[in-house]
């Protein structure tokens, strides 16, 4: 597929200079402009905030073991689900795959030395970290109780919690997201290696490109909205306060204009990972490359036209609701196209079931379930019945956790040999994949039933008849938590004791596998020249293995 560009053949592997060992010291990490090191910084950061969000989730599930609100007061419980949402969405999911896998892989996959703006990339990480720490400050000092959705006028007038500080933290992290998207957009447009046309680019890059479009167009609107919320709180402005002529529904329009596309910022990168995993572990060219690439961009565009489906019961015009409903059905189509193409790729492929593939298969099943329940919610009649119930909670967790997080873990496992130069233990990785899959379903499937039966979300007490399902859910959450801890342990373990990885342990196509594991700082000794089709498994010599 391309002229291989690997590190000097004679050098002993243990002493090969790579981006990890070229320089030591805290300053060499905190002042790095190497996209690969920045990816590691993001890995540390998002794992930290994921842990905080996970602690919140544990406390929520603890409270929900019993029908009575007997562990926390209702105001405290409000802070728990708000903290869970804010930490997970803004400081784990949105920065996650772009910051870790996107940063590490995009330049490698297109044959570039780095992203277009390496210093801006480092700034992105600092903004992410500062934003997260700002929100953490609010957490430590008592938290926010408005829900991650900050609906007005509660958030702007009545709430007695750290709304402004949290809003500032999210604002800063939003800037990080914008800069990351900008960097990827420019990198993909201007820095592809000679011969890498758009149609030869890996689908992971197409996914990151589509994500960048959303980050650039959408994030500024949440930024200004949060700024207005803060201004209203600090200066008593009344822009969203009915008592002063303001309209809370206007807040919701502005909020969801970003926050709906934001869920695609969270899922598009995972969809992009799955495309890579499916083709690699079926050892077959991906079926329908153009459709998958095009569907990513279609999702990016259509995602901006459906936000009102979060507002069906807000007092929004029925006619606007109808239009949003129809468009919401349409936005499911490109996602379905991906699932069809992956399935066609698997058909008659030489499928192997290593850990990344387990995650990919889990993703396809769970994302499909989550996506179909999204169609239920897009139908206004059903939505009116299940809105603000656990049905909605289950829907988005199927996509975000069953989907995105499994895609993230699948990608992390697949590219771990490239990132660290080490192999993780296959037995424990399969165990944790199954533990996660089973724990996840036990946690969230009961919630579909609970929601349909009428259990409202964001309540710390519930009618007795819902307890059994809630106990299942909490049990599942405990199992899921264990499932997440296992990889944390063995990834660390692998860095010290893991087997050394070959340059291309999976025998996969792609420029990132044509350079050393881990890569040298400048990625390639010589700029690669691309001459063949992507995912050309028929032609790739088996010599690529080992």
């Amino acid at each position: 597929m391309s002229t291989p560009a690997v590190s000097p053949p004679g050098a002993a592997r243990a002493h090969r200079v790579n981006y990890l060992n070229e320089r030591y010291g805290v300053a060499s990490w905190l002042l790095t402009v190497d996209h690969k090191r920045i990816a590691i910084l993001y890995l540390i950061g998002v794992t930290f905030f994921f842990a905080i969000g996970g602690i919140y989730a544990s406390l929520i599930r603890l409270e929900l073991l019993t029908p009575a609100g007997d562990v926390f007061q209702s105001e405290t419980y409000n802070k728990l689900f708000t903290g869970h949402g804010v930490m997970m969405i803004f400081f784990f999911m949105i920065p996650g795959i772009p910051g870790v896998l996107g940063n590490f892989l995009v330049p490698l996959m297109i044959g570039a030395k780095d992203v277009a703006f390496p210093r801006l990339n480092l700034l992105s990480w600092y903004l992410f970290a500062i934003g997260g720490l700002t929100a953490l400050w609010a957490v430590v000092h008592g938290g926010v109780d408005t829900g991650w959705t900050f609906y007005t006028p509660y958030s702007t007038v009545y709430s007695n919690s750290w709304v402004v500080v949290t809003a500032v933290g999210i604002f800063i992290a939003g800037f990080s997201s914008i800069l990351t998207g900008l960097n990827f957009l420019v990198t993909i447009h201007t820095m592809r290696a000679p011969g890498m046309s758009w149609m030869r680019m890996p689908l992971f890059c197409w996914g990151m490109y589509a994500t960048a479009i959303i980050q650039i167009l959408g994030t500024p609107v949440i930024a200004i909205t949060l700024l207005l919320v803060a201004a209203e709180r600090l200066f008593h402005l009344g822009i969203f306060d009915p008592a002063q002529g303001g309209d809370p529904v206007l807040f919701q329009h502005l909020f969801w204009f970003y926050s709906h596309p934001a869920v695609y910022i969270m899922v598009l990168p995972a969809l992009a990972v799955i495309s890579e995993l499916v083709t690699a572990f079926a050892r077959k060219p991906i079926y329908g490359y153009k459709f998958i690439a095009g569907s990513s961009v279609a999702i990016a565009v259509l995602s901006f036209l459906v936000w009102g489906h979060h507002m069906f019961v807000s007092g929004q015009s029925v006619y606007a609701g109808l239009v949003f409903s129809v468009l919401s059905f349409m936005v499911a189509i490109p996602s379905a196209i991906k699932v069809f193409n992956w399935t066609a790729t698997l058909y008659k492929g030489s499928v192997s079931y290593q850990t990344p593939m387990l995650y990919a298969l889990g993703f396809i099943g769970l994302f499909t379930l989550g996506g179909l329940t999204g169609l239920f919610l897009a139908a206004i009649g059903i939505d009116v019945h299940v809105t603000d119930t656990y049905f909605v909670v289950a829907h988005f967790h199927y996509i975000m956790v069953g989907g995105t997080i499994m895609g993230y873990l699948g990608g992390l496992h697949y590219w771990w040999p490239k990132i660290s130069g080490k192999l993780y233990p296959e037995y424990w990785s399969r165990v944790s994949a199954w533990v996660i899959f089973l724990g996840f379903n036990l946690t969230f499937f009961p919630q579909f039933i609970l929601g349909y039966l009428g259990m409202p979300r964001r309540y710390h007490a519930y009618p007795e008849e819902f307890q059994v399902l809630n106990v299942f859910s909490t049990a599942g959450a405990s199992i899921l938590g264990v499932g997440y801890l296992i990889p944390l342990v063995y990834f660390f373990w692998s860095m010290r004791y893991g087997k050394d990885a070959a340059d291309n342990p999976w025998g996969a196509t792609g420029l990132e596998w044509q350079t050393a594991s881990p890569p040298p700082t400048e990625n390639f000794a010589e700029t690669p020249v691309v001459t063949g089709k992507p995912y050309d498994y028929a032609t790739v010599a088996e010599a690529a293995l080992g």
Partner: protein, 224 residues
């Protein structure tokens, strides 16, 4: 081998960053990056324009009446000042691209001066609002003869012009940085991207004002 690669990377003009193949590629990337950033600014201000559109339709009389309380002479003067500053900025960019080193700093400085004049006028306007109790919040007094929703107009006025003024201040900061670099002789026919990029930013801020002026200052004049 790694050292050789790095040595290779440092060939080329000093302004070339190591990860770009050549200066043309760098310039293309920087330009696309700045335009993409301006896209984010369009949407950033756009959220407030949305609020303005909705509330103006809901509270037409209040908005028209409140708008007439703004000083149209100061607003028009500021518009002229900004347009002139866009001209001087464009001339600075032109000087840089022609390698006309003597003219870069004067044009940049003129732009900064005009920007400062703009901000000075805004300070005067804001001070007037404080005096007349037209600042939303606990000290707001509904102006005589106007509906109470006129406070909404002033909320949007302060938020929109305030954010615009903040962008002006940042712009003046960027111009200061450019003047320092220009004095050092950093810019030439071959390399003048920073001047051009700051120019794009400055013109964008001007465009925002081009819309703010009629929407805030002029919408009610026809009722007078």
């Amino acid at each position: 081998m790694a050292e050789a690669a790095r040595a290779l990377a440092h060939e080329g003009p000093p302004e070339l960053q190591h990860h770009f193949e050549n200066l043309a590629a760098q310039k293309e990337a920087v330009s696309l990056g700045m335009w993409a950033f301006l896209v984010t600014e369009v949407l950033f201000f756009g959220g407030m324009f949305t609020a303005y559109v909705i509330y103006r339709e809901s509270y037409r009389a209040a908005f028209e009446g409140a708008s007439n309380l703004l000083d149209i002479r100061l607003g028009a003067f500021n518009t002229a000042v900004l347009i002139l500053s866009s001209l001087t900025m464009a001339l600075a960019v032109r000087a840089a691209s022609l390698g006309d080193r003597r003219r870069i700093v004067p044009f940049l400085s003129l732009t900064m001066l005009l920007g400062t004049v703009f901000l000075g006028v805004k300070v005067v306007e804001y001070a007037q609002k404080f005096e007349h109790h037209e600042v939303p919040g606990p000290h707001f007094l509904v102006p005589h003869g106007l509906p109470p929703q006129s406070e909404m107009f002033f909320s949007l006025y302060f938020c929109m012009t305030g954010l615009h003024a903040l962008h002006m201040i940042i712009g003046i900061g960027l111009l200061t940085w450019l003047v320092r670099r220009a004095r050092r002789g950093d810019f030439s026919e071959r390399y003048n991207s920073p001047v051009e990029m700051v120019g794009l930013y400055w013109h964008f801020v001007d465009i925002v004002w081009i819309f703010l002026f009629p929407l805030l200052y002029l919408l009610g004049r026809h009722t007078l």
